[in-house]
Amino acid sequence: MVSDIIETLASVARGSRSKSILTKVGEVCGDKLLKVERVSPSTIKVLIKADCLHEVAEVLSAERDVYFRTMAASDERPAENLFKLYYVFGIDSEGTNIVVEVPTDGEREVPSISDVVKACDWYELEAHDLMGVKFSGRFLKRLVLPDDWPEEIHPLRKDITTEEIKKLYQPQVVKRAVELGVEEIVKIPIGPYHPALHEPEYFELYVRGEKVVDARYVGFMVHRGIEKLAESMKYDQVPFLAERICGICGFVHSVSYTQAVEEALNIEVPEKTQYIRTIILELERIHSHLLWIGVALHLLGYDTGFMHAWRIREKVMVLSELLTGSRKTYGINLVGGVRKDINKEKIEKTKQTLKQVLNEYKEFVDVATSVPQVRRRLSGTGVLPGGEARAYSLVGPTARGSGLSRDVRKDYTYGAYHFVSFSIPTYSEGDNLARTLVRIDEVYESINIIEQLLDTIPSSSEIKVDSWEPQPMKLGLGNVEAPRGEVIHVVITGKYGPYRWRVRAPTYQNLQAVPTMLRGVDLADAPITIASIDPCFSCTDRAIKINIKTGKVEFIPLEVLSRGGVR
């Protein structure tokens, strides 16, 4: 029996790496390994009993090229009377995903793996909050849901509807108004906002003199329940919702979602569609990095740089409008294709604009990076060693600034990236300067990628598959290298729309390492250090509705935030 499974393990393996890793997994599990199957060319699903999860996690986290990508909890009681946890590990060197599927009845505890896989901490807390899965061997606290949420209600379970949740939880404004004896109350939420990024976040910095000793992050202030909402929508409506997860890099989410559905249902997308998606993704990266460079320079007190970065960015925004019809939230993506074609005229116009952008950008970056104040404040601050970056499974420019050349575009290729050649800028210093330089270099690469794609774009006008059939309960993974790092979506398909849709934004992974970066920096450098991962809080929270409680506002120390601001 056990030998059978080990044989199957070897046969489903994709290459030598996945073979040796899977064999090790088979050995530690023994007869607790129930089933192995290859669900797509790059994804292998391993079904194990919860008892040996910890051992499997130990094996996987010991490998240098394996990292933890995401975890999705799914309520599959209607079909199988079970909850299921899907842990996704990626083998970087081979581009293979190993999905560890763990069934649980919801009563018994699942062993926590956050002691060996540091990055899994939040995922377990979230599964506990939203799905009611219990974990043993760790301290469980509220992460996503507000403090006064009823204990026994888990919003992502299938037996509670969106309507019931709305009725159940009314923000306590009314109650508070009655307490205060006022007839009408106006809510003025003050904080928590980052002084420059205009998004809700709350960092508690513990300071000795001028040095930050420790930091604590409190987030999930804007949990909107997007995943729950999507479960009541149809396949082709979700891309528009997905795009609204993030206001800066929304397209990555819609592409990631559509890719996940396409993988689950085996939909072949026309080549031109891949080209168009990739071009828009890279365009989004250019605008996002320019935005970040601007904000970073503003945080360092170099406002001239900020204005120039945004001036150049404007050209990119106009270009996006030309290609998609919108400056942001393009709305051109559907499962199986895109809605707008790129014709010859547009190709020419795009090339012209990119040439202008390149010249102006080069001139601007040369000046900005040689300003002595900028350089001195960036170098040596917010250091994150490569080992820590690996331990936290960091992604994107944050990882690449610490010497990990992890890039989904190369490792788990998608779209039209295999048609182009490009390099991945990596710096090993791990400080704020390294992360800045990674982004600066990436803009050049992106311009280069778009130019190559425009030269080789197919001339056919086929940009969408005619029709496709949904099949229930298929698992699909979609990943995209967003400007901030890798985005990964897990989709379990349903009859008319996704049954379960798990979104993991890059900041979810990167934010957990910020306290490490903050230790030892000067207080004045804290804002730029926090900003250096290019955090996107709303993405992480995926979700304004529930959480602004007037009762709580008075406890948020405003001065903590203003102290961290630009002086």
């Binding site: 929508m233 149809k234 082709d236 409506q237 979700v238 891309p239 528009f240 919702l241 919108s326 939230t329 709305g331 809605r339």
Partner: protein, 136 residues
């Protein structure tokens, strides 16, 4: 914003089903079927424009949409509702029934056309049963 041509629109509800932000909604009551368009929710994705089988929805370049009163952002298109000849429940608009009749080119007789899907199923089943058994 979009503009709905009241002459072309038959009130089939295809746009309502595809609308991602649920800016388009439909309300069926005893007498009327009301197609509502709330600009406050519209994301201008033009999915309805692509979907409309009657090509009744047009895109416009209007974008200065701020209003003092929220009701100014709501547009309504009222259709007559048809009641089922068998059970008397209101089901679709009279224009929709006529359009279906036109597209089917007389392939469907009025006694089936003006009947709601549930009753139609029962009627057809009865007809088949009568044919097979010969008993009413």
């Amino acid at each position: 914003m979009i503009e709905i041509d009241p002459v072309k629109c038959v009130g089939c509800g295809a746009c309502v089903r595809i609308c991602p932000p649920k800016a388009l909604t439909i309300e069926v009551n005893e007498k009327e079927t009301i197609l509502k368009y709330f600009i406050g929710r519209c994301i201008f994705c033009w999915m309805c424009v692509q979907t409309c089988p009657q090509k009744a929805i047009k895109t416009t370049n209007k974008f200065e949409l701020s209003a003092v009163d929220v009701h100014e952002l709501q547009m309504e298109l009222v259709h007559n509702t048809v009641k089922c000849r068998v059970c008397g429940k209101p089901f679709i608009t009279s224009k929709f029934v006529k359009e279906v009749g036109r597209r089917l080119n007389g392939g469907f007789k009025d006694d089936l056309l003006y009947v709601c899907p549930t009753c139609r199923r029962k009627l057809t089943a009865k007809k088949i049963a009568t044919k097979v058994t010969g008993v009413e």
